[in-house]
Each structure stands twice: as C-alpha cells, then as structure tokens.
Amino acid sequence: MKVISVQQARERRSSEGVYFRRTWGTLLRIALGLALALTSGELLCRQLFFSPSVFDRQEGWVFAPGATVVCRTEGAAKGHWDEQGVRRSVSSGGLNGRPILVLGDSFTEAIQVDDAAVYTAQVEQIISRAGIPRRVLNVAKSGNSLADYVANAARYRQMFDPIWTVVQIGDLDCGREAWDENGPSFMMDPIEKSVGTKEASYVDPRDRGLLRALGYEASIRSALFAYSIKRWQNLKEWWLTEPPMFNATRAKLRGGITEREDYPVERELEMLVEAYSNRLTILYTTPFYSPTLSQPASEVDMRLEAFARSKRISVVWLSDMYKRMAEESVAVSGFPNSRPFKGHWNETGHKEIAKLLAAELIRIGDRDGIF
C-alpha cells in the first residue's frame, strides 16, 4: 500500500476538486451553448415554417383549430384556419345561405399565399359582386386525392351542407395517389371486380407508446421539432435515392412507386359525381405549360375530357391559361424564394384561376338558377 503524506493528500484532494469543477464547468458551457443554439433554431423555424397541427382520428394530421400557419420556404405568407379546418374568409359579411365547398390538395390549401390571395377568397368576392352572395369554404388539405373526396363526401355534407362543390384535381389524383393506402384510397374488390373506397387506418401516435406520445407533444408545441421530423423524412428519402454503390455511373433511382397498368378513371369519376349528387365542378390542373415545358396531355387528361363531355360535368381546364401566361412570360407558379414555373401557384396563378372558376360558377348559376 502506498503511503502518502498529509500534504500530498491535501494536494490530491485539491487537484481532484479542480478537475471536478473543470469537468462540470465544461459540461455546463456545452449545455448552455446547445440551449442557445436550440432556442435560436426554434425562433428561426417559427419564422420560416410553422404549421401548428394536431392529430385527428378521422383525418390524420390537420391544422390545429384556429391555427396560424407561417410559410417562408416557398412564398412568404401567413394563413389562418378556423375550428372546422376551413381557411379563414376575408369577406366583410353579408354572405348567407348554403355555401360553395372547395376541396383540393396543397395547391388549394395554398399556405404559400395569404388568405386574401387564395383563389377561393377571390372567387367569393367576384361571385358576390355578380349577385351570388355565397360563402366559398376552402377545406383543402395537402396530400388529398380523389379517394379522399369520395370517402369524406357524407361527412362534408353533414358539416357544411354545401349547395355546390368544387373539386381541384390533377392527373395523379385520379391515379397513383388515389390508390395509395396511406390515406383513404380506392380499392379493387377482386371478387366483384368493382371499385370501392377504403377508409384510412390512422393510428394515433399517442397510442403507440410513451416515446411516440412524447414526440407528438413535442411536435405540436415546438416548430423546431416538427420541422426536424419533416427534414428527417427528407433525409430518409435522399438516402433511398443515393446512387448504388460501385455502379454510380449507371445509377438508376431506387425506390419509387410501382404503377398499376390501368386505373379505372371513369369509375372513380362516377363515384365522385355520385358522392356530390352531380352538383360539382372539377377544377383540373394538368397538363402544365411553361416557357421551357410543353407537357403533352396524359391519358388521364383525355379520359377525363371524354367523361366530362359524355356526362356533361362542369370542368374548368387550366391548361389554356397556363399556355397563355407562358407565352406572355408570366409565371403562375413559383416564388422569388423558389423557382418560377415550379411548385405551387403564386398570387398571379391564384388570380387567374379565380377568374376562370368564378366565370364558370356564374355561368352555372345563370344556366340552372341554383345559387
């Protein structure tokens, strides 16, 4: 056993004390630095992208009642939603009777533009001036497809009792996205050989264990946490599209969705029309044009056109407007912080779409006298 003197023992205790203070001091400095960085990150996220969301057992993730959504990653806008998930109206009042319901995906949800700039708000103003003082309710949700509108028709009728419905779709909404089982989807009954709808099986994250429950609470309170989850998804998708090892020069994208060979587009559209009692207008968003892109009409585009003609369904086609604006070198989509002619509609796009849709609704009103 090594014997040390009292002096040596005192020195050892003193140096241990210094080591102890230094270690805790370093840890405290690291903790403070990290806390400052996370706080800065939270403040940044709240300015950059903040969409307060909650989980609804019927609809999955939805904006929280009364939410103000900030989006500055594409466009620069603040949008407001009420308790029923309807985008806030900018009308001063005087609108009564059964409303016009507008369904759609992220293009109609339009978090990239302010409340007044969304085409639904502008349609409300235009048709009101034309003698149709009806509220136009925007209940669009990002990621929706044709299957969502069919599956939720009864619920919308009960909640809003619309006099007319506008459904915004593109070619993918009638195809791949409507058969994606992550939400309400179409399904083929193998025995009956008919098309039906399948409810989404949303699982509440609060029922999936303590960690998920804590994650849920964090994501509804912290913009940084919620945005980080989204970025983590992006990172996982990036990982899947990395070129294959040892063969990067002959890379093909991995992942992706297996396409069915043929979607029953006509049957899907029939189900949509029946669900809304033939009181609807389809706002059709493809094919898209830009000064550098002339997208040919897809098979779905042509089949919808044939269907609408045969069943006399009201359709607002946007392709002519896209072409005209492209020839005038005016971008209807894209923002200064993204890229013109890419991404979601900008203020100009919403304005042009509002004109077209309002004109169609006025025409229907004059023709059928229903408003």
């Binding site: 403070l32 990150g41 980080s228 599209t241 090892m245 020069t249 002959r250 971008a331």
Partner: protein
C-alpha cells in the same frame, strides 16, 4: 460518394474509428489505402483498375528514371510515362470531342464520325496531373522515388483529394507518410472545423445558388436580362462556394486522418488584378501549370512576345483541362488575354498604382464573373444568348425573377468580405480571439474567407460561444440544406 452525402459521413466515421483502434503505422497505411480504393470503387468499380494501372506505370517509370545514368534513357522513360498518362486522359476525356470536331471533315470523305460511349473516370484530370508531377520531379532530381509501392499507392489513391483536388504533389505528401496517422483530439478539432466550413459552403450556399444558376443557364432565352444577371451572380457564388467548400472538406478530412494538404483558395474574389486572382483561385492547379507547363515553355525568361505566348498557351491548355469543349478553351483564352494585358499594363506603368485598389477589385470581379458565362454554358448558342441578354442586345424581355436567396447571400457575402478581410488582416497569427471576433471571423470565412484563419474553438478550452456557433451551424445545415444528391461542380472535370 459525395462528401456532403450521409453515406460518406458514415464511411468517414467508421474509417476514423478503425484508424484509431488499429495499431501499427504500416497497418494503418494499408487500411487507409484499402479504404481509399473502396471509396473510389464506390463510384464505378471499373475505374479503380485504371487508377491502379496509372499508379503502377508511374511507380515503375520513376524508378527507371532514377536508376538510369543515361540522360537519353531517362528522357525516354519520362516521355513514355507522360505519353501514357496524357494518352489515357485524352482517350477518356477528349476522344468524342475530337471526333465531333472532325465530323465535318469525315463527312467530306463520306464517313460518319463514330461516337464512343465512354465513361469519364472520376478525378482522372486530377490524378493524372498528380502522377505527372511525381515523375517530372524525379526526373528533375528534386525528389527521390518512393521506396514503397504501398506508400505510393496510398499517395495516389488518397481519397480526400482524389476526385477533385487539391492537386497534391508527391514532394508535399510522401514525406508525411512517415508519421503516425489516426485521429487525435487536435486533429479532429482542426479537421472538423474545416469540414463543417466546407459543408456549409456547399449545402447552404452553393446548392441554393445552383437552383437559380441552373434555371437561368439551362434556358437563358426564357429570362429577362436582369434575371440573367442574377443567374450569373448566383453562378459566381455557386462555383466558388462549391469548389472551395469541397477543398475545405478534403483538407479537413485529411487533417482528421493525420495528413496536411495544401490550400486551394485564398479569397479569390478579393483580388484586385487578374494576376492576383490566379494566385488565389485553384492555387494548386495554377502552381502546377506554372511549374510544369509555363516555366518549361520558357516562362518569362525570353522576349516579351515569348512570355505572352507562353501565358496564352498555358491558359488555353488550362481551359481545355477543365473539359472537352470549346467553351472551356474560350474561358481559358479570355483569362490568358487578360493576363497578357495585365502584364503589358504593369510593364507600361512600371508597377505603379494608377487606379485605386477598389477600382481594380471591381474590374477584376466583373471580368471574372463575365468569364463564367462560357465556363457554365452548355453550348456556343447558349453563350451567345446569355451575352446578348447581359448586354441588352436583342430581346431583353422574358420571365422576371429576382431570387430572394441571391439577395440574402449577396448581402451576407459583401458584409462577410468586409468583416473577414478586416479580421484576417488584423490578426497576428493568434489562435485565441474574443467570441464576437470569432463569430465575425466565421461569417467572413464562410463565404469569402478560407481555412487559413485557424480553429473556431480554441484548443483545450470549450466556450459557450464556440459550442453555440458549431451547434447552430450544424442545425442550419440540417434544416436548410437541399436534401438531394447535388454533385460537386469539379467532379465533372
């Protein structure tokens, strides 16, 4: 694997761990060489064989040159080696360029120009120059040949600088092979700081600017003249941050492993003359061209006309090195003309400052930026259209787009330049700095500075400001970086 990809980060962490745990200098070197081969083969396993072949040829040739006393034999081995290196480079890089340009002539004889489907091996331009510098230095008796094939293979395959430089000379790297490699606290701190700096430049600046530049350069006729100017400014920022960012990541990675690589950039956009620009931009290439092309041609030892000729030849070949396209030759030629003109100017004014420094800076930056047009353009037609738009010749109208990100980064770049230049010039080589000064230095370094300003966190002391800066930067990269595989620009050369 791109340095900015998650796969590379995992590869690097695993490699550092292995180098830390495995004992023995030679074992570590073998593992490093093996890891480098795996890294290179991850692009395309077929190209690894070519790299090893080139290495074997050079290793053998260098020894033959060294062992021979006859100058004739030595010269023969040198030219054989240079011929094989340049032949391999020319075959993969310039065959189709030559065939396309001969198409007209071949058609006169009723022949169709064939098109060879050749894969351009990644980094071939860089490692060819690296290999040639080794044999030339041995021939000049400035360097003894490498005694060990393992050491030479480690040098040739060293992955941080294999794909896109810095072009490391054997005289710089080979002596370092005697040291014990593997991560230490000091190396990790120094290397990580540089790596993070490069990652920020690449992911937060270059990739954001790429969205603007690609949109404008891919379809220049669509945009208005002012938007084309924005696209050009975005490209100027993109190429600097992309390339210098890559160099920082390469130097930082090498540092973490235990080797020191030369700097490649020294605030090139702060240059006040074109000659000064080429002393700051892609320094390892310009030094290589000076030592192995310009000086052997005669340099400035002959008459004035001969000096100008040598400058032009060097710059034209330097342009061609970047890619098999007349656009690159034009770019090199423009810089050559500017260098010749500057030499004339200096000679005429006898080196006196006739114009203020800031005017020289504006002129140099403007010229360099305009020269990026042929460098980036996809064709002659595109170059013509862009120049037309820039100078409002013909149809100046088009889609108006004034990108927000360009405004933000442009303002930050200008502020960072002013702060960075001040901070760097006032430092006396001190490692320590006050937190605010360190933040300013970081800001300056991110866009226009370089890695020579030292570590962000002082060695041996962790500060709140240092942790805050590093953590915030990592958070910003995670939150704002485009999550897609955007290759580094110089990977295509």
């Amino acid at each position: 694997m791109a340095f900015s990809s998650p796969r590379f980060l995992i590869f690097l962490v695993l490699l550092l761990l292995v180098l830390h745990l495995v004992p023995g200098r030679d074992t570590k070197k073998r593992l490093l060489a093996l890891a480098s081969c795996l890294f290179y083969a991850a692009w395309d396993w077929r190209c690894l064989g070519l790299l090893l072949l080139v290495s074997a040829i050079d290793y053998t040739a260098a020894w033959k040159i060294y062992q021979s006393e006859s100058s004739k034999v030595r010269r023969l081995w040198l030219w054989t080696n240079l011929g094989s290196n340049l032949g391999i480079l020319s075959y993969f890089k310039y065959t189709n360029f030559f065939l396309e340009n001969s198409a007209g002539l071949l058609r006169e004889f009723g022949l169709d120009a064939p098109v060879l489907r050749l894969v351009l091996p990644a980094g071939i331009s860089f490692y060819t120059f690296k290999a040639m510098s080794y044999t030339i230095d041995v021939y000049r008796r400035e360097l003894a040949p490498c005694g060990s094939w393992l050491d030479y293979a480690t040098f040739m395959t060293f992955f941080p600088e294999l794909i896109a430089g810095p072009i490391v000379r054997a005289s710089v790297f080979l002596p370092q092979l005697a040291r014990e490699i593997g991560p230490t606290v000091y190396r990790l701190k120094e290397g990580f700081n540089l790596f993070l700096l490069g990652l920020v430049k690449k992911l937060l600046v270059a990739d954001q600017m790429a969205v603007i530049a690609d949109a404008v350069f891919d379809s220049p006729g669509v945009w208005s003249s002012l938007t084309v100017w924005c696209g050009l400014a975005a490209y100027a920022l993109q190429i600097y941050c992309d390339f210098s960012g890559y160099s920082d990541m390469a130097i930082g990675t090498a540092k973490m492993i235990g080797y020191d690589l030369p700097e490649n950039f020294n605030m090139p956009y702060a240059a006040a003359s074109i000659t000064d620009f080429w002393r700051r931009w892609h320094m390892t290439l310009s030094q290589w061209l000076r030592d192995y092309l310009y000086i052997p041609l005669g340099g400035n030892r002959g008459s004035q006309l001969q000096t100008y000729r040598n400058l032009m030849v060097t710059m034209l070949l330097g342009g061609l090195w970047h890619g098999a396209s007349w656009n690159f030759v034009l770019w090199g030629g423009l810089h050559g003309i500017a260098l010749v003109w500057h030499k004339l100017w200096v000679d005429a004014t006898k080196g006196r400052m006739i114009i203020p420094h800031w005017a020289g800076w504006v002129l140099t930056l403007s010229f360099v930026t305009l020269c990026w047009v042929p460098f980036r353009s996809t064709s002659w037609e595109s170059t013509r259209v862009i120049f037309g738009k820039l100078f409002f010749i013909g149809n100046a109208r088009g889609v108006e787009w004034y990108p927000t990100w360009l405004g933000i980064y442009g303002a930050v770049a200008l502020a960072a330049h002013l702060i960075g230049v001040r901070v760097i010039s006032s430092r006396r080589g001190s490692v320590e700095a006050k937190p605010l000064g360190r933040i300013c230095e970081t800001l300056g370094c991110v866009l226009v500075g370089n890695a020579m300003t030292g570590p962000w966190i002082s060695i041996g002391k962790v500060t709140v400001a240092g942790v805050f800066v590093i953590a915030l930067i990592m958070l910003l990269v995670f939150l704002l970086a485009p999550m897609n595989s955007n290759p580094f620009i110089y990977f295509q050369f």
